[in-house]
Subunit: 312 residues, 4 copies
């Protein structure tokens, strides 16, 4: 992640200003407000604004005139109850706004979450920075041989060397061609006064999907947790999972009670089918059950055994 | 509007607390934070939390690292441009949360606006207050004779007297029957220990549509303005229009520049059809145009003349 | 449920017409197309239109040029996989439209599902029918004594008699007052030419929450199943649960493979928390676990034991 | 646009099948059902399914038991009224599903319309085709010199030649590198058995934004028209505008009355601000008004004069 001195000065100016408010605040989140948290090689997330705290969830659930809060323990109990029983609307009552820098192929997965607000940096108006995602060697994964999706071990040796060579050279070349077609340098200065320059909205099409873009992204707490659950899952692509993990860190600071309930009831839990529940009832009763008698397909059986931490 | 002493104390406690924040604030809105603004005979709206200010619209439109703001005049210019050209996403970047008390027949119109978050006071769990909307004499309107929808003049004399009698007596009787079926008083105390009491979720069905309910309602600025435009319109039912007007007052305090742009480009404006535009071009060229030559239906013509402040 | 002869004739006319189409069809659903399926005392649901079948889910998941279907068994396997892993977007690719008649207090729960399209019969323009929901004796439940929400046993004897008396008399009286204030009979004929009549949008406020309304409701398959899962659950209020059950019957006809996957992986399943999963791992390993050692609250423990079909 | 013989055979099979239905049909749309309509050099849209017709809009607006239709003229009148007064919910009652092939930079604009359902071809699972958008010479536009956004005249001569060279060579090279990193050919056959091959979800990042993707896109009629209004506008980028125009052709076949109302009241119309309306009132009264006296900025004035077809 690299910020220009101007950008850093702007961020510092925001952090230096302190105002009075009658609204609730989340002190641990205030500590990192506006600060970019690095993700991948050039990306970041930073919290730009927020609304509400754990008490606001309780307040909304009770439709109260005041804080809604009684005692810390009761609040945790109510939040746990709401989370466990998927009463999602009180969690929709808190809102957070991020500034995110991310590769376009990650942005394309991210944007599929529709219940959020987005303002993206426009490559129709503006020139994109010369920043491309290049995986770290550990993340240069081979195609998974088991499933059709996902990754196997990291590539090594000559194969890895060649992949890095391709990714770096193609990024450099396509970006150089981008500015050449624009007839502008990165700062927007005309290069050759005798040429017209290709429209920005067209020239961008030559950039590759690992070029970085950025956007403001605003979302309510329920949909944020849903995003983190899906994109922080082990089956999600690594490059979006690290963003989900960074988002989770900000939730911990913002909403400690809600975050704990989320970790207990969602992230660490599992959904069992009717058949899975039947198997478990029998096992809990001391019975030995095999896949053959379970009525489950092999794949389902393997998934169930994984959830139970047993060999399939 | 009547608050219990407990409710007032809770509100005062919230207003008395002041905290420090690095977030942007809207000082004029802070002045009325948490305070109920009366609407109708027992209703209110009150701002419970908010996020963002005019500068946040500019910041999102520019996807900036800092405030995004340059000079006040430039900000107003950009906000006007965004509003005029219906670039709605920067206005989605601000959020506000209200606590609203309103009659159920108003709530049923309100909830049709789907892009918002709601937590309603539950009449499955709790006992509703004995508060019913009874129109003021000026608002006891006759059925409009012109269109099928809307209102004519206020009723008077014996007809009005009888309507008030019906509304008041039926409200009192159905509420008394509600608590009788519950076998509970308003505070939830059992009345007759030998009776079981009807389930709350059932007993409520005997209440009439002018009983008051309440909810927390959270919405982004764009959808709030859309709500105000539709429900603050002259064709909207009076009983929801007054809520829209109260909401607009809070927007003025929260977002003065955006609110001014909204009043100029939406509320005071008009949408013209292709045919309407054609008529206006001819009129602006000095031509006299009649409905017959306009290609418009009588109804369309009347609507156009109204928009132009001319007789049809 | 009572339809007028005109309404029945209109429905028969629609059912009698047969057209040719290149679209996919769901023959078992065509059999009941347009026909009202009775729910509660005066309500119904009826399928008015639909789009897609089980094959369309497969087709969308594969983004195929043709049907997407390979063999029935493969289709079922893919649908099961999508359902189990909550890949919801292919199920959003099918759509269904219902005409529903329902009491207003049920409509108020129903409308909370925002991802759907609704057109409701307007009581601003039109006069509502004289139809009110009165529970059957079996459903005249007492307030639950265990939790704060829900129902206990049915009321009986004098208490039940009095409740029916109240519900019936108040419905009749408020409706009579409604038409008196309107100065119109049910068919919209003016009663007393010397009176103006109260505006329809006002007079309706005197009706109670068990009066019937009706609407067109259109929803995609994923959101329909989500509705059925929440509102068909044992904790949902009986009066909306019977609608969910009627909807489920139409899904069985429309989407047999998807419906089966839904019953297996959602309706009959359970979500376990991290702590619940831990308990189950220990039990499956032959260990005896008590609530005290489980790290779970008594309420959580009771919920887990219920899911496992064991005594708490 | 190029389809494989297999794809063509699949499409023909769908078109050859005819089924009976009691649902309404749109015969002119049935004629082109499943057929790809070419857009840009390799793209297309094709209607895969639909639900409803003009009568369904009327039916929903009236919440009718039957067709809702009275006479053609009355239907057109009601549809015009709904369109003019922005009563949008009846238009949400019709639904259509497309299969679309489009360059990724167009897909990124398209997906910003959130109220729709999407299933995209997955480049995590599958290998993308070797198809890239290369503009036709007429569309190889220079950057607009007036505004910051948009296009000027087409490039010519040496500058155009060089742009084509870049776009073609970079597309060819990045695609060759994509398959080299995958260690697979386009059909998914392993090339070098001694290499592992980079994960598909990673290799795709080397492709440029003009590579084609495809998806199933399902949307209701109201949101479809909103999409067409925004993306078919003169200010939209050419490459998405041609998709909007192709969509409009399908609406004409599907919904002739609604389409006509849309063209009259939206596409050909204009929204006037309060200030614009004031100017027009004065002009229609025979007064000469200049920008200076109008209270409008130069930009606003220019926009108004454009709407009136006058010189600024």
């Amino acid at each position: 992640m690299s910020l220009t001195p101007d950008q850093q000065a702007e961020i510092e100016a925001l952090r230096a200003a302190t105002r009075e408010t009658h609204r609730v605040t989340a002190p641990a989140l205030e500590e990192i407000l506006y600060q970019p948290l690095p993700v991948l090689d050039h990306g970041f997330i930073r919290v730009v604004d927020y609304m509400g705290d754990d008490g606001a969830v309780v307040q909304a659930a009770r439709v109260s005139y005041g804080k809604g809060t009684r005692k810390l323990r009761e609040d945790q109990g109510l939040i746990n109850y709401l989370m466990r029983h998927r009463h999602t609307t009180p969690f929709e009552m808190c809102e957070i706004k991020y500034h995110v820098k991310l590769p376009i192929f990650v942005a394309r997965q991210w944007i599929r979450h529709r219940t959020a607000n987005v303002n993206e940096y426009s490559a129709r108006y503006s020139i994109l920075d010369n920043e491309f995602y290049i995986p770290a060697p550990d993340n240069l994964a081979a195609q998974s041989t088991a499933g059709r999706q996902g990754r196997g071990e990291a590539l090594g040796g000559e194969e890895a060397r060649r992949v890095f060579e391709i990714l770096r050279e193609d990024a450099a070349r396509t970006y150089a061609h981008y500015t050449e077609m624009l007839n502008e340098d990165e700062a927007g200065n005309v290069v050759d006064p005798d040429r017209k320059g290709l429209a920005r909205e067209l020239a961008r099409m030559n950039l590759s999907l690992n070029v970085y873009t950025q956007w403001y992204w605003k979302v309510d707490l329920h949909n944020l947790l849903h995003f983190i659950a899906l994109r922080g899952d082990a089956h999600a692509q690594y490059e979006i999972r690290v963003y989900a993990e960074a988002l989770l860190e900000t939730v911990k600071r913002w909403m400690p009670l809600t975050c704990e309930a989320f970790m207990t009831y969602h992230m660490g839990g599992a959904h069992l089918s009717a058949k899975g529940l039947e198997v478990i009832k029998r096992m809990a009763g001391g019975e030995k059950v095999s896949q053959g008698e379970s009525g489950m397909s092999k794949r389902e059986w393997r998934e169930l055994m994984e959830a139970l931490g047993r060999e399939a």
